[in-house]
Subunit: 735 residues, 2 copies
C-alpha cells in the first residue's frame, strides 16, 4: 500500500479547481475534468491546438467496434477478436488565429490559467489570457456542459474578452475531426457523407453530429468566422446534437432508407445549465455525504458521487459502467463484475431505476452469455469477464475461460436488489430466467469428485487473479452454492412453472444436491476459510519484501512466478465475507482478515476499500483509515499514476462503499437494513444519505451520537436495535 | 487406442514399394519416400509438374528463419516470435515437354507407375510409362539419392527410355524454384544474385546451390535441353552441391567478403551409391533387427532404423532431431525433450559419437538456455520446450513457461550416456557445466513450503500435458531430485573445483537439502505415486466414453475442460518409472501401471511404446503387443492419418525402444547392462544388435532360448544372471 498522493488541485466542497497551468498533468486534467451524462462522455481535452500529449476522447455508451487484429490463439473457447468502445470524432475542436497568426497553446504565451468543474452543475470552465504582442492581450473562456435531461446535447461556449485597448483580429474555425487513432489499432471512424454522418469500421454503427452556432446570441450558418475584438466580448454558443444508431449494420439500414436519425433539437447553454442544476440537486438530495474535519475527503467523496451519477444513472438498460466509465480508452470501455459488486449498491440506495437497468443490461445480453457458455462446452449462460456488447472481449485464457465471478455476481445482484427494494417483478421475470441460465451453466461447469461425494469447481481463477487454475476456490464454490440455494428457494417459494424454462425436477434435484455437497473449505477450529484446495501449502512470500520497483508485478514478473505464491492480488475469501457481511460472526471475520490481509498486495484499486470496511467493523480504526486513505481521492491525487488514462469509475464506487458500508456500517444483506456507524478519528462529524423503501434516510454521526432522520416512516436496525424511524422525526442514539 | 492401419505399400524386408499410383496418398508417399542425410532432407515430391496436393519440401538442418508475425501476448516470459526450419528452394524441379506439349503428371496419361526406396542404399527410384499419343510411349525413371559420406551432395538421375518405334521429341528444363510459401507465413527465401545464392528473410542465413549435369555421361553447361528419343535411352545425371552458411547475418558477412562458400566438389551417381552401401551396411551391422513370423513388422522396424540413421548420425554437434526430422514443416523442425528421452538410447547402442553430439547440441545452446532462465526470472539455464537455435520457440505459455522436462532430460541424458559409455570426459567437462546450470535453474524455480520442510515445484506442467499449473508433479520433482543428487555425487566423487563454476559450498548444501526434502508423493501401502498433489481428488472421466469424433481433443474441447479431469495424455508417473526401470520393484511398476494406464488416452504418439515396454515386463503379453501394434508401422500404415505432414521421427525412435527395451528387455539404467528378452507370440524368432563397451552384441530370441554373441569380451546381466560373453562365443540360455 505504499501509494503516495500527487496533489495539484485546489480544495473546494463542490468543485475541483486548477489554478495555473500544469503541463505535466495535462492528460491527468483531461481525465479529472471529464464530463459524462451516461449517453456520452467527453474528456477535458483542449479545444484549441496544443503541443501537450493528449487523449482527445469523446465516447458514446455502447458505441463500439471490433479490433482490426484477429488472433487465433489455438485455444478453443478464446475469443479471437476483441471489441472496444470506440473513440469518436472530436466535435469540439477549434482553430484560432490572432492577428493573422495561428495560435498554438503554450505556457509561455499565456497567463492566469484557471479551470474548474462544478459538481452542482457539471459546468466545466477554462480560461486564460493570451499575450498576442506587446501590450496586446485577450482573454479566452471555454465552457462546456453535457445536458443531463436531454442526453444528446452538448453545449460549447467560447468567450473572447478584450483586455486593454488595442483591437485584435481574430479567426475562429469549428472543426469536426474524426481522424482519431484508436490505441495501436488504427482509425475506426469513417465519414459517410457531407452531412456529418460517421460510422464504425466493422460494426457499422452510426453517429450524426448536428450543431447550431450563435454569435452574441444570433444564429449563423458559418463555422469559420473572422472578427475583431476591441471593446466588447464575443460570445460563441454552439449546441451540438449527437445522435447514435447502435443497431448492427445500422449503416446499411440507413443507406436502404430503413433507419432515420432524430430531428435535432437545440437548446440554449443556459437552459442546459438549468436542467443540470435540478439534476444534481436531486442527486445530492438522496446521496450526499458531508464530512467535517477533512476538506480533502469532503471534496473527494463529492467528486465520486458526482462522477458516479454522471457515468450512469439508469438512462438505458443497454448501458453499463466501464472500469474507466466514459473517460478513457483504457480497459476498452468494458464492464466487469465490478458493476454488480462495487457499483450496484450506490444505485440501490439512491436510484432504484438505475439499479434495475444495470441488472437488465445483463438480461439484454443473455443470448450472448448463452453462446459464451456453448463456447466453453457448457450449458446455460456464462457472463463474460469483460464486455460491451455481451460477447466476451477478454482474450487472456486464464481470465476468460476460468473466472466465473461475473456469472455469480449477476445472481448476487438480483438477490441484493430484491433484498433492498423488495421488487418481485424483476426477480420473477427477467431475474428468474437469468438465475436459471446461470445455474445451468454453473451445474455443467462444476464437477463431482471421484467418490461422487463432493461437488465444486476445478480449473478456476477466483477474484484473486494471482491464483490460476485451482480447485475449489472457496469464493467460486460459495457463490455457486448461494446461486443454487437461491434458485431452489425461488422455485419452492413461488411455485415456478419449470417447463417454461425447459427445466425439470431432475435439474432442481441436481442443483440441490450440488449445493448440499459443495466443497466449502472451512475449519471451525481456526475459523479460517482456505482460499482454495491446497492454498495453505503454497510457498509463502512476505509481500513487504517485494521491492517497490517490481510493481506492477505483471510488468516485472513472469506469470508463472506471480501465480505460485500465497500472495494475493485482491480480496478473495474476504470478498465473499464482504458480500454476506451479516452472515459471518465477528470472530470469523477477524480470523480471516488477520490471515489474508497480510498476504494481499492490493494490486487492484478495488482492494483497499473492502479491507477498510472489514477493518472498521473489526474495530481496527487506524487500519480502516489507512486503507480508506486513498479511496475517495484515488484519481484527484493520482495515487496510481494512471489517472491520465481515465477515471477509475468502479473504484470511485468502492469509495462510496468505503464510507457508507465501512464507517457508516450499512449492512444490506439481511432481511432488515442495518446501520451501525463508527466515526473515523480525523473527521469531527459526517453524514450520509440513502434512499430505502421510499424514505430518504439521513445519518449524521458526531463524536457523541448518531442521529437519523427519515423522510418517511421506515423500519431499520440501528446497531443491534430494531427501530422504526418516524417521518421527519429525528432519532438519536449514542455512538 | 482405436487406431486403424491404412495400408498401400508392398511388403519387403529392405524396401518400401508402391506399385501403381495412389493419388489420394500423394503427400503420404512424399513423406514415406523422404530422403535425408542429417545435413539435408528432401521429401519425395515429384520433379515434374502434377496437380496433386503436394508439399515440395527440402530442408537443411539448422537452416531456419523467424516468423513474420510478432505476437506480444502480454505475458512476461513468453516469446513473441517463433522460429522454424525453413522450407528451402526446390532444386530438383524439372519441366518436361513431349512432342511440343508440356507434360503434367496425370494418372490417366500413365501406366506401370512404380516406386521404391531401398534401405540398403537410400536410393529412391520412381518410374512410369507415358502415353504421348496412340502407339507412342516413353518410360521415365527418376532416381534420387543423398550422399551419406559427402553430405552436401544430392544426386538426381533422369532416364528417358524408348518404348516402341516412334521417335519422341523431348524438352527437359532443370529449374531451381525458391518461391515456396512457408505455411501461412509467406515466402521466407530470397534470391541474392544469379549465382544461385539464396538467403533467409530475417536470419540472413545463406544457401548456395551448385550443380553439374551430364547427358549420357558427358558434361553440359545447359539446363534446357531438347532431344529426341527413338532407339536409345537418354540419361541425365545431375549432381547438386548444396552449401549452407548458418552464421548469424551470413548474408552481410558474405557481401563484405568475410565469408566464402566451399568450392563445389561433384561426384558421380554411382560413387554416391557406393558410399551409401557402405554406410547402411555399417548401420545394420550394429543395429539391425531381424524378425521372423511377421514380414510387416520386419519391414516396419528396418524402416525405423533406416530413417533414424538418415535423420541423425552425429555429423555435427549443432544438429538435433526434429519431431518430424527433415521430412516436413509440421512442428517447425523443432527438437523437443524427445531427443534425450526417446532418441538418445538408439544412438547410445550403436553410435556413441552421434549420442555425444546430440548432447553437445545442448552444450552449444547453453547460452540461449541461460538467457531463457533469465526470461523466466530464474538462475542457471532452462532448456526450451521447442527449439532449433536454442531459443524458446513455443509461444504457448503453459508449455514454454511451465514444463521443465527438457532441462531434467538433458541431465538424465548425460547420466545415461555416462552409464552406457563410461565416457568421463564429456561428463566432467561440458557435462558438468550443463548439470550445474540446470541445477541452478531447478533450485531457483523450485520452492519451499511455508513450513520450510518440503521442497518441490509449483505451477508446472509435467509430461502429461492435460494437467496445467499443478504443484508437486511427481515426474518433475523426481527428476529434479535426481539431478540434484547426481550433481552432488559428481562434486564429491570428482572433487570438482567449485569456483570454476561460480558456485560454493552453500549452493552444494542447498541442492543437497532440496533433494533430501523433495516432495515425492508415494504411498508405500498402495505402492502408488500420485501424479501431482491433488491428482486423486480430480474428477474422474472414463476415457472409453469419449466419442471417437471428439479426437483430437485439442480441436474439440476447450482447454479448461481438457485440463480438469484425471484423464492423462501420455505417461507421466509411468515415464519416470520407465526412465529408471531398474530402480523400481515389479510390484511398484504393476500398481502404477494398473492405476494410470486406464486413465491414459495416448494422444501422443510416444505414449504406447512406453506402455508396451512396461506391459512386457509385467507379463501382460497381449497388452504389450496391442500397444506395439502400431509402433513400427505408425507412418507406413499412416495410423494417425497425418503422415502426409512428415514422418514421426521421435515415435520411430520409440518403436526401436519398444522392441529392444520392451521385448528385448534391455535395461541400461543400472551399473551393469541387463538383457532379459521375452518373445512376442506373433514372432517365431527375432534378433537385435547393440554396440556396448566396444562389443557388438547380437541377441537372438527363439521360442525356446535366447542366444547371445558378442564381437568382443563383455560383461552383462542376462535376466538375473551376471555373464561374461566371450569374443564370438555364443552363449545360450532358455527363455
Amino acid at each position: 500500500m505504499g501509494k503516495i498522493a500527487s496533489k495539484y488541485l485546489k480544495v473546494h466542497p463542490f468543485k475541483i479547481v486548477e489554478e495555473g497551468y500544469h503541463y505535466e498533468r495535462h492528460m491527468v486534467s483531461e481525465s479529472l475534468f471529464s464530463l459524462s451524462n451516461e449517453f456520452m462522455g467527453v474528456r477535458a481535452f483542449f479545444e484549441e491546438a496544443s503541443d501537450a500529449a493528449s487523449l482527445r476522447g469523446t465516447f458514446f455508451n455502447g458505441f463500439y467496434d471490433y479490433a482490426s487484429k484477429i488472433h487465433h490463439s489455438g485455444y478453443k473457447g478464446i475469443p479471437s477478436r476483441t471489441h472496444f468502445m470506440v473513440n469518436s470524432p472530436d466535435f469540439l475542436k477549434v482553430k484560432l488565429v490572432f492577428d493573422g497568426k495561428e495560435f498554438n497553446f503554450n505556457e509561455e504565451l499565456i497567463r492566469n490559467f484557471y479551470r474548474e468543474l462544478d459538481f452542482r452543475t457539471g459546468l466545466y470552465t477554462r480560461s486564460y489570457i493570451i499575450k498576442i504582442a506587446h501590450n496586446k492581450e485577450i482573454k479566452l473562456i471555454f465552457e462546456r456542459i453535457l445536458d443531463m435531461e436531454h442526453p444528446n446535447l452538448c453545449q460549447q461556449r467560447l468567450t473572447f474578452e478584450p483586455i486593454g485597448e488595442a483591437a485584435i483580429d481574430c479567426e475562429l474555425t469549428f472543426i469536426i475531426d474524426h481522424h482519431i487513432e484508436h490505441g495501436g489499432d488504427g482509425e475506426h471512424i469513417e465519414k459517410l457523407d457531407d452531412h456529418a454522418v460517421y460510422f464504425t469500421k466493422f460494426t457499422h454503427q452510426l453517429l450524426r453530429i448536428s450543431d447550431q452556432l450563435k454569435i452574441n446570441g444570433k444564429t449563423t450558418p458559418h463555422r469559420h468566422i473572422k472578427f475583431a475584438v476591441k471593446n466588447d466580448s464575443y460570445v460563441f454558443e454552439r449546441t451540438l446534437f449527437l445522435d447514435v444508431k447502435k443497431e448492427l449494420q445500422a449503416l446499411e439500414l440507413y443507406q436502404d432508407g430503413k433507419l432515420h436519425f432524430q430531428e435535432p433539437v437545440f437548446d440554449s447553454f443556459d437552459a442546459t445549465l438549468a436542467h443540470n442544476k435540478a439534476f444534481y440537486q436531486a442527486v445530492f438530495e438522496t446521496s450526499d455525504i458531508e464530512i467535517s474535519g477533512d476538506d480533502e475527503d469532503q471534496q473527494g467523496i463529492r467528486y465520486c458521487i458526482f462522477q458516479l451519477a454522471n457515468t450512469y444513472h439508469g438512462l438505458s438498460p443497454h448501458h453499463n459502467i466501464g472500469a474507466k466509465g466514459l473517460t478513457g480508452i483504457a480497459y476498452s470501455g468494458h464492464a466487469f463484475w465490478d458493476s454488480e459488486t462495487y457499483c450496484l449498491p450506490f444505485y440501490l440506495f439512491n436510484n432504484h431505476e438505475a439499479a434495475k437497468n444495470l441488472i437488465l443490461y445483463r438480461y439484454n445480453t443473455l443470448d450472448a452469455a448463452r453462446k459464451r457458455a456453448r463456447d466453453l462446452d457448457c450449458d446455460g449462460a456464462c457472463f463474460p469477464i469483460a464486455t460491451l456488447n455481451g460477447e466476451e472481449a477478454c482474450d487472456l485464457w486464464q481470465h476468460a475461460s476460468c473466472q466465473f465471478q461475473p456469472t455469480t455476481a449477476v445472481v448476487y445482484a438480483l438477490w441484493h436488489y430484491y433484498m433492498v427494494t423488495g421488487d418481485q417483478e424483476l426477480l420473477l421475470n427477467e431475474g428468474l430466467e437469468i438465475i436459471i441460465e446461470a445455474c445451468k451453466f454453473l451445474l455443467s461447469r462444476g464437477q463431482w469428485d471421484p467418490t461422487h461425494q463432493h461437488f465444486g469447481f476445478h480449473g478456476v481463477m477466483g477474484p484473486d487473479e494471482f491464483k490460476m487454475f485451482v480447485s475449489h476456490n472457496t469464493y467460486t464454490n460459495y457463490m455457486a452454492k448461494f446461486a443454487f440455494e437461491f434458485l431452489f428457494e425461488l422455485i419452492n417459494d413461488y411455485h415456478v412453472d419449470l417447463t417454461k424454462y425447459q427445466i425439470n425436477d431432475g435439474f432442481v434435484g441436481e442443483i440441490k444436491n450440488a449445493a448440499t455437497h459443495m466443497v466449502i473449505l472451512y475449519d471451525p477450529k481456526t475459523k479460517l476459510y482456505e482460499q482454495h484446495d491446497g492454498y495453505y501449502k503454497m510457498p509463502h512470500l512476505d509481500v513487504d519484501t517485494i521491492p517497490v520497483t517490481d510493481f506492477p508485478l505483471y510488468h516485472h514478473w513472469t506469470y508463472d512466478r506471480i501465480y505460485r505464491y500465497d500472495m494475493i492480488k485482491q480480496p478473495d475469501v474476504l470478498m465473499f465475507i464482504f458480500l454476506f457481511m451479516s452472515q459471518f460472526s465477528l470472530s470469523v471475520k477477524q480470523a480471516n482478515y488477520e490471515f489474508y490481509e497480510p498476504r494481499c498486495i492490493h494490486e487492484s484499486s478495488l482492494s483497499p476499500s473492502v479491507h477498510s470496511i472489514l477493518a472498521s467493523e473489526l474495530g481496527k480504526d487506524q487500519e480502516a483509515l489507512d486503507f480508506f486513505g486513498f479511496a475517495s481521492r484515488l484519481d484527484l491525487d493520482d495515487y496510481n499514476r494512471n489517472t491520465k488514462e481515465g477515471l477509475h469509475l468502479t473504484s470511485i464506487a468502492a469509495a462510496w462503499l468505503n464510507v457508507v458500508y465501512g464507517f457508516g456500517g450499512l449492512r444490506s444483506d439481511g432481511k432488515i437494513l442495518v446501520i451501525a456507524p463508527k466515526k473515523p478519528t480525523r473527521w469531527s462529524k459526517y453524514s450520509f444519505k440513502i434512499l430505502y423503501q421510499g424514505a430518504i434516510i439521513k445519518v449524521l454521526v458526531t463524536s457523541k451520537e448518531v442521529s437519523l432522520k427519515a423522510s418517511k416512516k421506515v423500519k431499520i436496525k440501528i446497531y443491534d436495535k430494531l427501530v422504526t424511524l418516524k417521518e421527519n422525526v429525528p432519532y438519536q442514539t449514542s455512538l
